[in-house]
């Protein structure tokens, strides 16, 4: 469990857009951090009908998804790489 600020790497699910984030408070929950990162990474936040996408943060070091309410200081170490992964549909039906 960490109470100091963390430096992390974050990316989209394809790892084709990557950012370093520094001095992250350990007290954020995974959901709060994910919400703050979507705009930072230029990722789509909602589908065409306005429904919000649900994104999960995948910690590469531990190869697991963080729970939405997990405290970043408990779930991550400095240097960890979080991958933001959405749940998305390919659906039939023309506009």
């Amino acid at each position: 469990m960490s109470n100091t600020l963390l430096d992390l790497v974050v990316s989209d699910t394809s790892r084709q857009r990557v950012k370093s984030i520094e001095e992250v408070s350990p007290d954020y929950t995974a959901a709060e951090l994910v919400q703050g990162l979507l705009q930072e990474l230029g990722l789509a936040t909602h589908d065409h009908s306005g429904r919000s996408y649900s994104y999960h943060a995948f910690n590469r070091r531990e190869a697991r998804h963080l729970g939405a309410n997990e405290r970043i200081g408990d779930a991550c170490e400095t240097g960890d790489w979080l991958v933001l992964q959405p749940e998305v549909n390919a659906a039939q039906g023309l506009e």
């Binding site: 990316s11 699910t13 857009r17 703050g36 230029g42 390919a90 659906a91």
Partner: protein, 358 residues
């Protein structure tokens, strides 16, 4: 940092010139930024490590009527080494928003279904200093993407391929081995009543002598942990993790270059549709739905990324499938052509050397 200080709106007109009013549009600059970035890479003006971080989006005012009407907008990405790259985008970038605005007018009975409309696009300085929403505070820095680029001979790929459909000079060339098309086809047939799909991985190649950057698909990874029914395929976070795990296990340094999915036969809904109508029906002949577009924007936002759809037909023994490729062109998703690499040929012949970004 992306500088985009304007907000955009669409003004709709009836054919007789009646003004139907203005609607604000949420301008998504990312597809335009990515297109500009790829153009810079293809013209040897940008490197992979340049990213889209230092860029500006500015309106191009209308030549005759001037501000606030626009002909389009201009994106500039600065480079560490070079002058960077500038690309212009027309108001066609806002076509989908205009289509939606038209549908809204019809829904509110201000426009008849059979009426056509014209639209013009406007831009205004966004001086309303919106209170930033409470967001986590941290410092950010752009880091190099997890992509490598292989220096190759473009001609050696073209010589072993057949062109399918039309590839415009604007389109980044995409090479797909025939065996991978066959593989997706077999998977689509096997799950006939349910949509199925996956991710296509491969390499980004660069031939500096042309100069050109192109995509080679090297493998297909079927979506695991996806939820499928006849009209929907849901890619979950576990799907994406499994794809990346497969890429890492292969250890070939491949990246995600496309995705594919099938459309099941439309069956009952088309039973009463006359033959001649069916021949041109997009449901039978391939289409890219709004959900498909949004998935592409969400996960496959890089301008080199494409999407392969396979449409199963009802006729005969049910084995008839058509495929279609869609990709980014000027920040808009359009159907496009590609090169089909013949089976049984090694793809390593054209490679000079691989270079990974630091």
């Amino acid at each position: 940092m992306v500088t985009n200080r304007y907000k955009y709106a669409i003004e709709m007109y009836r054919d007789d010139g009646t003004n139907l009013g203005q609607v604000p549009v949420e301008m998504d600059p990312q597809p335009a930024l990515e297109w500009t970035w790829l153009t810079g890479l293809r013209r040897n003006k940008l490197e992979l490590s340049d990213g889209t971080g230092s860029s500006a989006v500015l309106p191009v005012w209308h030549r005759e009527v001037g501000e606030p009407y626009i002909e389009g907008f201009r994106v500039t990405i600065l480079s560490d080494e070079d002058d960077g790259i500038t690309e212009d985008f027309s108001t066609l970038y806002f076509k989908r928003e205009a289509d939606q605005a038209r549908l809204n007018l019809i829904a509110s009975k201000r426009l008849r279904k059979d009426e056509t409309v014209r639209y013009v696009t406007l831009a205004f300085l966004n001086d309303a200093h919106a209170m930033p929403a409470a967001r986590p505070q941290f410092k950010t820095r752009e880091a190099p993407p997890d992509i490598r680029i292989v220096e190759s001979d473009f001609g050696s790929f073209v010589n072993r391929s057949q062109l399918e459909g039309e590839v415009t000079t604007e389109d980044i060339p995409i090479v797909i081995p025939r065996r991978i098309l066959d593989e997706t086809r077999e998977l689509a047939l096997a799950s006939r009543d349910k949509e199925t799909g996956g991710v296509l991985i491969g390499h980004l190649h660069r031939d500096r002598t042309v100069p050109e950057v192109f995509v080679e698909v090297t493998a297909q990874i079927k979506a695991a942990h996806a939820v499928a029914d006849a009209a929907r395929l849901t890619f979950t976070p576990d799907t994406w993790s499994a794809v990346q795990a497969a890429v890492d296990l292969r250890g070939e340094g491949e990246t995600w270059v496309a995705w594919w999915h099938s459309h099941v036969p439309v069956g009952v809904s088309c039973k009463d549709c006359p033959e001649e109508k069916r021949a041109v029906c997009p449901l039978v002949n391939g289409f890219f739905s709004q959900d498909d577009r949004q998935l592409h924007r969400t996960v496959f936002f890089k301008a080199f990324a494409s999407a392969l759809t396979l449409s199963l037909k009802d006729e005969g023994d049910g084995s008839e499938i058509t495929h279609k490729l869609y990709g980014w062109r000027h920040g808009v998703i359009e159907p496009r052509g590609f090169y089909v690499l013949n089976n049984g040929l090694s793809t390593s012949g054209g490679e000079r050397h691989a270079e990974r970004q630091p």
